[in-house]
């Protein structure tokens, strides 16, 4: 055991040369990263933690207590948790069914499910809008059936529908990938040892697919909590999400300080979800989607 350990240590200390040893080749990128990744974030921190007179203040963070921003954050959390839940409930069985059937057709179905993702997301939202408008397709059908019209467009339900529709593939793919990695032998071994289908599912499939589930959750949760364009289009400006108020602080109120402060608060939520992801998902399932 200790021998093995020592060997690993040794191999780590061996200098590996598989490309020219020129650290300076990273120079351009280091400048780039300093200028366009670090510096912009420093600016967000600078504006977020200072007042219009340039002095240090926490007022921009405290702004979250104002009803407008609190309300918007609440809406965003509601939408993002709700969307994540809807996607998970719909995607999990689908991924399970498809992964059981690891044939070409299963892989092709996955491609078809991811296919809408290749279409510009705004056009997908346009499609949803078309269905749920006051005189859209759904209400037209309801009308023909003599049923009451539904108020869908420009409500919270519309935003739910739009975000869930948009991000659904982000949930399916990581779960599917995680499930495909599960060794068939394990499942068979479980069967041989007398586990029934339900037990196998509960004790083997669920735990082993968990990293995929977590990745899926993160990949739906993060974009939906910072969403603003969908709410703009499907919410008729009646419902402001956190992304909308941040955008408005910059583009309408011209208040960089409050806007940056709110961005910092948004980042807190993202960092929390990153920590959760890092704890559970060490394989980096989430990187599979691009």
């Amino acid at each position: 055991m200790s021998n093995l350990f020592a060997r690993r240590e040794q191999s780590r200390s061996v200098e590996r040369h598989n490309s020219p040893r020129h650290p300076w080749l990273a120079g351009p990128y280091i400048f780039w990263a300093a200028g366009f990744i670090v510096l912009p974030l420093v600016l967000v921190f600078y504006y977020g933690l200072s007042g219009p007179d340039g002095t240090f203040t926490l007022a921009n963070l405290a702004a979250i207590a104002q009803p407008i921003f609190r309300n918007a954050l609440g809406q965003s959390l509601l939408i993002s948790f709700g969307t994540t839940a809807i996607c998970l409930v719909l995607a999990y069985p689908l991924a399970y069914i498809l992964s059981k059937n690891r044939s070409r057709s299963g892989a092709f179905i996955i491609i078809l499910i991811v296919l809408p993702m290749w279409i510009n997301f705004l056009l997908r939202i346009l499609a949803v809008q078309m269905l749920i408008a006051n005189n859209g397709i759904i209400n037209m059908i309801l009308g023909h059936l003599g049923l009451a019209q539904m108020r869908l467009i420009n409500t919270r339900a519309a935003i739910f529908l739009g975000t869930a529709y948009d991000y659904f593939p982000f949930m399916v793919l990581p779960i599917y990938n995680a499930m495909c990695k599960i060794d068939h032998d394990i499942i068979e071994a479980a069967h041989d040892l007398g586990a029934n289908a339900l037990t196998t599912f509960r004790r083997i499939i669920v735990p082993l697919s968990l990293p995929g589930v977590i990745s899926g959750i993160i990949m739906v949760f993060i974009p939906s909590i910072s969403e603003f364009a969908i709410a703009d289009i499907l919410g008729g400006s009646r419902i402001l999400l956190f992304g909308n108020v941040i955008e408005q602080e910059f583009n309408m109120s011209n208040d960089w300080h409050t806007g940056s402060g709110l961005s910092l608060i948004l980042m807190v939520f993202i960092i929390i979800s990153m920590i959760v992801m890092h704890r559970v998902d060490k394989d980096g399932e989430g990187q599979i989607i691009w």
């Binding site: 408008a133 006051n134 005189n135 919270r156 400006s237 009646r238 419902i239 583009n251 309408m252």
Partner: protein, 359 residues
């Protein structure tokens, strides 16, 4: 397998777009455009006949970067952020006044302009309310704010702002998504001036808007036209020119200026202090005053034109259309927006946020 196919797919897509790039740049390469520099123009959404831009580019050899905004407040923010150097801004009366009060405008030299005389005296007079010397703003278009309604969905006569609070039309009412415009309705219902800075009056108006919120289909500006044409909503607050276009698209629609009164506005072209090509900006403004440009614009967006040269050539029927050319009687109760100072601006913004988050 899956990965590979995605890769191949992306490769194909990049090829297609590569070709599009070549095609695209090849198309815009010809002609004499851009030899006299470029100007950046900032205008309301869908507020010019787009063909005029390429006409101007070809005639004057100046490239136009054309950018649109929704509400004057958005424009102001974008302008003051300084990220883009605009050469010509087309905006409304009170916003011109605000920019003037902040020394953000350059005087326009109209002496060398070929077409400037086409603008009628009464419109210069109109502008003197906020530009006493007529030195900063050249009238572009004018109009009113009123209610557009679908006669197949609204049976009663529409003549008051109060119909926008009628629960029979829940989910069928469109409100302006522009702060000053949205406050017109409640303020006039209360009998207050649309230029009030009285906090109690404004808070009362805000309460009315909050009360109205559950009935509102959407807060929008440029989309209202299409929403009304397609029958998405029964009633909406709208600008007169958009109303005319909408009525043309759907004959069931009608426009009215409520009896409580409303806003009559004039939009002007100004040259902001950020301008880097003042000469080009002047030429663009001059071009807008030309007969051809004014005519093309009028036929495209149907706002009242200050260009008297084209009035003679318009049909009787068009001239009699009170949506485009309201009578003096209709304008009797209408006020012009004034700039209210930064304190009142901030109050308006706060109240507007309260309305928008009142769900």
């Amino acid at each position: 397998m899956k990965r590979k196919s995605l890769l191949i797919f992306a490769l194909c897509a990049s090829l297609i777009f590569g070709l599009a790039a070549c095609g695209g740049s090849g198309g815009s390469g010809g002609g004499s455009r851009g030899e006299n520099g470029s100007i950046t123009v900032f205008n309301y959404g869908d507020y010019i006949d787009r063909d005029l831009i390429s006409q101007f580019e070809n005639q004057y050899g100046i490239t136009v970067n054309y950018e649109e905004y929704v509400a004057p407040e958005d424009m102001y923010t974008k302008y003051t952020s300084g990220a883009i150097d605009y050469d010509v801004i087309i905006t409304s009366d009170y916003m011109v006044e605000k920019l003037m009060s902040e020394d953000q405008l350059l005087p326009i030299d109209t002496s060398g302009m070929e077409y400037i005389d086409n603008i009628g005296d009464r419109y210069w007079e109109f502008c003197r309310a906020f530009d006493p010397e007529n030195s900063y703003a050249v009238p572009y278009l004018w109009g009113t704010v009123g209610i557009i309604y679908n006669t197949s969905m609204v049976d009663e006569d529409v003549n008051s702002w109060s119909i926008l609070w009628d629960e029979d039309y829940a989910n069928s009412i469109i409100m302006e998504n522009s702060v000053r415009d949205a406050f017109i309705a409640p303020l006039r219902l209360q009998g207050d001036s649309i230029n009030t800075t009285d906090e109690a009056e404004l808070r009362a108006a805000c309460d009315r808007l909050v009360e109205q919120y559950p009935l509102v289909y959407a807060y929008q500006v440029d989309e209202t036209r299409d929403s009304m044409i397609s029958g998405e909503a029964a009633l909406g607050m709208i600008y007169s020119g958009d109303a005319t276009v909408a009525i043309e698209g759907n004959p069931d629609l009608a426009y009215t200026i409520p009896r409580e009164g409303s806003n009559v506005w004039i939009d002007c072209a100004v040259i902001p202090a950020s301008a880097t090509n003042v000469e080009g900006a002047q030429q663009f403004i001059d071009f807008l005053c030309s007969y051809d440009a004014a005519m093309a614009n009028f036929e495209y967006i149907y706002y009242g034109t200050p260009n008297e040269a084209i009035l003679d050539d318009l049909d009787e029927e068009v001239l009699a259309d009170t949506t485009i050319f309201p009578t003096d009687e209709m304008l009797e109760n209408c006020e012009v927006f004034r700039y209210l100072g930064s304190e009142a601006d901030a109050l308006y913004t706060d109240l507007w946020q309260i309305v928008k988050t009142s769900n």
